[in-house]
């Protein structure tokens, strides 16, 4: 069963992503900020995808993405950003760090599932 990690400071968003992907057969892990997300990803190098918010306390999503790429065991995990942000500079930063996609909230469950099926390894 493929594992997906959702990193978002909103519990509601984490639950929604878990429900949508869980019903489709994915195992979903959760983290509340980039620091927790980085720790969880490092312990789970077999993750098929990380769904990652940008604006979060402690460590934001782009900082987590860049640190993830410097972590040998987890550097290849595909990452989909899911955020309210639509700023070109931030999108370019994610692209440069090797993100696979950028979703602008709100995201419909069927769109999230489609993107996950497309981007998960």
């Amino acid at each position: 069963m493929k594992k997906v990690l959702v990193v978002d400071d909103s519990e509601t968003i984490r639950l929604e992503v878990s429900r949508t992907l869980g019903q489709a057969g994915f195992t979903v892990l959760e983290a509340r900020d980039g620091a927790e997300g980085l720790a969880t990803a490092t312990k789970n190098p077999d993750l098929a995808l990380i769904v990652l918010d940008v604006n979060m306390p402690v460590m934001n999503g782009l900082d987590m993405l860049e640190r993830l790429r410097q972590t040998p065991t987890a550097a290849d995990i595909p990452v989909l950003l899911m955020t309210t942000e639509a700023e070109d500079r931030l999108i370019e930063r994610a692209k440069k760090a090797g993100a696979k996609g950028w979703f602008i909230k709100p995201v419909k469950p069927e769109m999230l599932l489609m993107a996950t099926n497309k981007l998960a390894r």
């Binding site: 909103s10 519990e11 309210t84 950028w102 602008i104």
Partner: protein, 169 residues
């Protein structure tokens, strides 16, 4: 030097009000402008507050709504505390997009949340918060904004991506 200019605050608050209408509509709550003001009441209110800052504009945005309104806009089983914070985050995200389309870029803080009864806004300026009504209850959007003296909102241009869109790299 940053200054307050009422017409700019009013213009940016109008953008935030439009963003709020779009956001709540996306979550199934249709807002209508209200002339009723924001009288104190014993109804439990939730409020999300976010700061934003850019080279030429900075400020604070507050979204307040009755508990029933927050819950009506929330996915199943969401906690009102969590969801009003996420709504404030998405509201200021939409405001950021509207400002970017007019040439101004801001960075966002993370939201703080409060709840209570008999809450009233106490604006620093003469720009009154925008109040909406809905079948699920009332909503208030309140901005206080400072700008660089020569700041002007530019002509609207199209952005590369908007809400609900997926960019695949």
């Amino acid at each position: 030097m940053f200054v307050e200019r009422l017409e700019t605050t009013r213009a940016i608050q109008d953008l935030a009000a439009a963003a709020c209408t779009e956001l709540m509509n996306a979550y199934g709550v249709r807002l209508e402008p209200s002339e009723a003001g924001w009288p104190e009441s014993d109804e439990l209110m939730f409020s999300g507050v976010m700061g934003f800052v850019g080279d030429s504009v900075r400020g604070t945005c507050l979204l307040a709504a009755a508990q029933g309104t927050v819950e009506a806009a929330a996915p199943n089983n969401a906690a009102a505390r969590d969801w009003v914070g996420e709504l404030a985050n998405q509201l200021v995200g939409r405001l950021k997009a509207k400002l970017m389309a007019r040439g101004a870029t801001i960075a966002l803080s993370t939201p703080v949340v409060l709840r209570g009864v008999k809450l009233s806004p106490l604006p620093r300026t003469d720009v009154a918060p925008v109040v909406f009504g809905s079948a699920a209850g009332r909503v208030l959007v309140w901005l206080e904004v400072e700008i660089e003296d020569d700041f002007q909102l530019g002509e609207q241009r199209a952005l590369a991506a908007t809400e609900g869109e997926l960019l695949v790299f």
